[in-house]
């Protein structure tokens, strides 16, 4: 891309250079021609002379055109250039009589070939006029086309044709003089028509208009003076006419053009001055709104956006300060303060919206602060406030407020501007809030994904299998991970440990505690046999890491496959259910939840119970996700319901029992979202008749294979 640009620039330069060289070449040819061939007596040589001058002019014109177009056109700069060149011509005309006269007389008095010197002087002088005329003409051309929306080149090109015709007919004999005059008059008429196209002055700001007014007076006077001077029969006019009558006439035409153009420019600018301020303001408003619409699509940061809103509000409403009164719950807070202290804005916001009718206004309004009692408390004098509502979904979310520190009231114009702008701002602010909300939601969902992933990895992948103990487990996570945990441990060849726990709270924090709990139980189960001692130790370890708000309910049990007993201890968890001969028994040894107390009280509270296992005993571990599952009326599934299903199905195998429970729970709570994890572990004891205590592991989870030392 940059390389291409570079080439392009080079291309332009090459072309420009070529044009400049052509111009130099033609000028050199013209100069030599004047010395060696030119004779004013022969019409042939005169025509050749005019053609050469014309070609030189054209080549310079195109070179200058390239030069101007390589820069950004600024009408005021063009006007300045015209003025400077005009001033140069003026000085030349004023002092040339003296300088040229003395030069020529010196040349005549000396021995040098005075014809050569004269030629040189007249050539340099004429070339200067040629270049000046070309530049001024080009400037007019640029001003003519500047900010033109329609294609208006026909008028201008027609004018150029008549300029050329008038100029070239200037050397005609006196008999045909009327032809030259006709062309000249038509040219002047076309100049008048084309000089009206000066709509560009509407687009410049007031300050520039004023400077343009001054400039146009000076420049039009210069043009008039130069026009008069170039029409007199002076030494320099004689010299120029002798060099080329066409150039002389062209200079006159350009001077006429300038005199007319700048006179019209002066009056038009004069008439534009009174409306300049209003125009500037509208233009500024449009600019701000454009800038702001661009910003809406680029920026979604709420703070940045509100800062910009108040910043622009100050300018759009010609205010001194601005802030946004943002509705939060039922009160307003002040944000994005511009040029106003925080306490001032808070006080004024209170004044506007407390005990006043404007509280819910959907229209903009203006407030005089003269009667505001707490005015002396403000750190600055503030006379007027204008407020416009910021709405989203037809609800007022806040107000954009502008303040004036001078005694000039906000008028309808200011209020309209404020209304328009607050509409724009409402859309932008609502957009940014929506985007922020969705980002936050996405972040939370990501976080929950992580939590669920942790939980999934922590829970056992498979249930261990024994010859006379069948095990089933079901775990259904809630959307906001609930912190349920269960696990199985092989203690030694004849002992099997199990645990169920529920971490308080939800989400990622619960998931992390769960991971910690798993680590604690896994290591303790290998070294400590008594469930009570394991829970005591676990509580001790948790004291170091749990925050005060968090706790864990847990039940830990050990099954002795040889002695056919189960030992259970419970720390705040739901009771362990035993179903024997269709009778439910809630095993509820006392015990405080882990993390609730770290003193002797915890140790003392813990009980441990041992139960002799009977054939077909069913042991059920669960978390409150089952009993607290809710239906549409927000009623709990309940313990009684749960126990009934267990009893009714206690004759089935463990998978069947848990299927029945889960089915009933899902039917019960189908119209209410699951808000907590659900865990259900069912163990069923099958009496062995050749009681050798042998166990068989099939497809056991990896951790179950590790032997205890």
């Amino acid at each position: 891309m940059s390389k291409l640009n570079f080439l392009k620039i080079n291309g332009v330069e090459l072309k420009s250079n070529l044009k400049f060289q052509t111009f130099l070449g033609l000028a050199a040819v013209l100069f030599l021609f004047r010395i060696f061939f030119y004779s004013a007596d022969s019409l042939f040589w005169v025509i050749i002379n005019e053609l050469l001058v014309g070609l030189t002019f054209v080549s310079l014109y195109f070179y200058l055109l390239d030069l101007i177009h390589s820069k950004i056109v600024d009408p005021l700069a063009l006007v300045m250039n015209v003025g400077i060149i005009n001033a140069l011509i003026f000085f030349l005309f004023t002092f040339s009589s003296v300088i040229l006269g003395s030069l020529i007389s010196k040349a005549e008095s000396s021995n040098i070939n005075h014809s050569l010197l004269y030629n040189l002087i007249s050539f340099v002088f004429s070339m200067f006029i040629l270049a000046s005329a070309a530049t001024i003409f080009l400037a007019f051309r640029e001003l003519y086309f500047y900010r033109q929306k329609k294609n208006v080149s026909t008028y201008f090109n027609t004018m150029i044709v008549f300029f050329a015709l008038a100029s070239l007919s200037s050397f005609l004999s006196h008999d045909l003089k009327y032809l030259k005059d006709t062309f000249f008059i038509i040219s002047v008429l076309l100049i008048l028509i084309n000089s009206i196209r000066i709509s560009w002055i509407a687009f410049i700001v007031k300050k520039e208009k004023i400077s343009l007014l001054v400039l146009s007076v000076i420049i039009s006077i210069l043009f008039f003076v130069n026009l008069v001077k170039s029409s007199n029969d002076n030494l320099y006019v004689q010299m120029l006419t002798a060099f080329s009558p066409s150039l002389n006439l062209f200079l006159k035409i350009v001077m006429t053009y300038g005199a007319i153009y700048f006179s019209i420019l002066f009056f038009t600018t004069l008439f534009h001055i009174p409306t300049a301020e209003a125009f500037d303001r509208k233009a500024q408003e449009v600019n701000f709104l454009q800038y702001f619409s661009k910003l809406i699509t680029e920026s979604v940061d709420f703070k940045e956006l509100t800062e910009t809103v108040t910043d622009i509000a100050v300018k759009v409403c010609n205010a001194h300060a601005s802030w946004i009164a943002w509705k939060e719950d039922d009160s307003f807070k002040s944000i994005a303060n511009k040029h106003i202290g925080y306490y001032d804005s808070i006080n004024l916001t209170k004044f506007i919206f407390e005990n006043r009718l404007e509280k819910g206004s959907e229209q903009s309004f203006i407030i005089k602060l003269k009667r505001y009692l707490n005015r002396p408390q403000l750190s600055e004098e503030i006379y007027y406030l204008a407020a416009a509502p910021l709405k989203a979904h037809n609800e007022v979310k806040g107000y954009l407020i502008a303040a004036r520190k001078s005694d000039i009231i906000f008028d309808d114009e200011d209020r309209n501007a404020m209304d328009t702008f607050s509409d724009y701002a409402s859309v932008a602010i609502e957009n940014s809030r929506l985007v922020e909300e969705s980002i936050e939601k996405e972040r939370l969902e990501k976080e929950l994904d992580v939590a669920r992933e942790i939980q999934r990895k922590i829970l056992p992948a498979k249930n261990p299998e024994y010859k006379n103990l069948s095990i089933s487990s079901v775990f259904i996570p809630a959307f906001e991970v609930g912190g349920d945990y269960y696990d199985f441990f092989e203690i030694d060849k004849s002992k099997f440990g199990f645990v169920i726990a529920d971490v308080s709270g939800k989400g990622i924090s619960a998931a992390f505690i769960m991971a910690e709990i798993k680590g604690i139980f896994e290591s303790l189960s290998k070294t400590i046999e008594s469930p009570k001692d394991i829970l005591i130790k676990a509580n001790e370890i948790l004291e170091r890491t749990l925050d005060r708000k968090s706790f864990v309910s847990a039940a830990y049990g050990v099954m002795d496959l040889v002695k056919e007993t189960v030992t259970i201890s419970r720390a705040g968890h739901c009771p362990v259910i035993l179903i024997r001969n269709n009778i439910v028994e809630n095993l509820r040894p006392s015990g405080i939840g882990l993390g609730l107390n770290f003193s002797e009280q915890f140790v003392n509270s813990l009980e441990e119970i041992e139960i002799k296992l009977h054939n077909n005993d069913v042991i059920v571990l669960y978390t409150d996700g089952i009993t607290e599952a809710k239906n549409k009326e927000l009623e709990d599934f309940g313990s009684a319901h749960f126990e009934k299903i267990l009893v009714d199905n206690s004759g089935c195998d463990t998978d069947e029992i848990s299927n029945r429970v889960m089915h009933e729970v899902s039917v019960f709570s189908q119209s209410h979202a699951q808000h907590d994890d659900i865990t259900l572990v069912i163990l069923k004891w099958k009496q062995k008749f050749n009681n050798d205590g042998e166990k068989e592991w099939q497809n056991s989870a990896p951790q179950l294979k590790t032997q205890v030392m």
């Binding site: 005060r548 706790f551 309910s553 927000l634």
Partner: protein, 123 residues
């Protein structure tokens, strides 16, 4: 969505906090706020009335744990009262009766505070 709200009554040296609705992980910050306002203004003798509370989750229970230490350090206490059976069962399962005084009626809890006060004055 289930709602939750608290209100606080000033009864001399004791403040009574009334809970209403569903106290879970989402509404727990409301209760936390109520507690920290009371504790920050030096109110350490607190009675919580559970009469209108329909549900409490583990996160709700955690709120009581968060403040009890500081309150007891300042010779205050949180006493719980007027729980329905369901809510009491949740507290009971976790062993809260060992850690907190739980009363059937709000008045009993308030009286307990004034008895202690009398004892202290008697010294």
């Amino acid at each position: 969505m289930a709602e939750f709200s608290t209100s606080v009554k000033d009864a001399g040296d004791v403040n009574i906090i009334y809970l209403k609705g569903y106290l879970d992980a989402h509404t727990a910050p409301i209760l936390e706020n109520t507690f920290s306002n009371l504790v920050d203004s030096g109110r350490y003798s607190l009675v919580v009335n559970f009469r209108d509370l329909s549900y409490i989750s583990s996160a709700g229970l955690g709120v009581f744990m968060a403040f009890i230490e500081k309150i007891r350090e300042n010779n205050g206490d949180i006493k719980l009262s007027a729980m329905n059976d369901k809510v009491f069962n949740i507290f009971d399962l976790l062993g809260f009766p060992l850690l907190y005084e739980i009363y059937k009626e709000e008045d009993e809890a308030i009286n307990k505070f004034s008895q202690i006060k009398k004892l202290e004055n008697g010294k």
